[in-house]
Symmetry: C2
Subunit: 128 residues, 2 copies
């Protein structure tokens, strides 16, 4: 049912060739050099398709909208992919990791964000 289209192929090609983690708009601009009248809507549609087919990765898949927390201490989170709820996770925060990555990359690392994804208890039972 998934047909080939030069638009989708151009998008996938570009993503496979670059390591720049582009936004949808970046991709649109790049692919437009090859297919000048491609539309941004098509880019979005195909990105979604490719992501669903696991051909590409969407970073920060996040519910996209921001969430806020009254607890400012550094801690990790779990996000249920079914219901979207966010829970705190009591894993120790590994600060050495920042050091290690800083040393390896030359970047200055101020902190890191760790989020677990999956199904919360409620959603596991309601799917059973």
């Amino acid at each position: 049912m998934l047909r080939r289209s030069k638009q989708r192929e151009a998008i996938l090609d570009f993503l496979r060739k670059t390591s720049s983690h582009p936004t949808a708009y970046h991709i649109y601009e790049a692919v437009r050099k090859e297919i000048p009248n491609i539309s941004l809507g098509t880019v979005y549609r195909n990105l979604r398709l490719l992501r669903d087919e696991a051909e590409i990765l969407e970073l920060d898949l996040a519910g996209s909208l921001s969430r806020f927390d009254g607890d400012t201490r550094s801690h990790y989170h779990f996000r249920c992919e079914q219901c979207g709820r966010v829970f705190d996770v009591n894993e120790p925060v590994d600060l050495e990791r920042n050091e290690r990555v800083a040393k390896k990359t030359g970047f200055r690392v101020s902190h890191h964000i760790l989020e677990f994804r999956g199904l919360c208890r409620d959603c596991q039972t309601s799917m059973a």
Copy 2:
């Protein structure tokens, strides 16, 4: 210069009392029970203020817009908070961690997302 206002206090109160990691709109709905004519714009303004004062945490602060990656193998990222660029990080992916959290929480953990934040090399030098 930061004055008190019942709107801001109601927002902070609510965030301190809940552990539900609400969205801006959730907060708006909750606070509206107390201050019926508060506006969504005010909620956003105060969330930003409180975040800047480090009174609350904004999760997934993310560049908000999605980024895509042609490499679907599990790997970690570094995001520069100055220029917004995203880089791959060659840290080993710790799969046992998913196990550990699953056991502890009862959630089904399919994967985790780890993102380092800070300044890339270019931005460090250009700020010096």
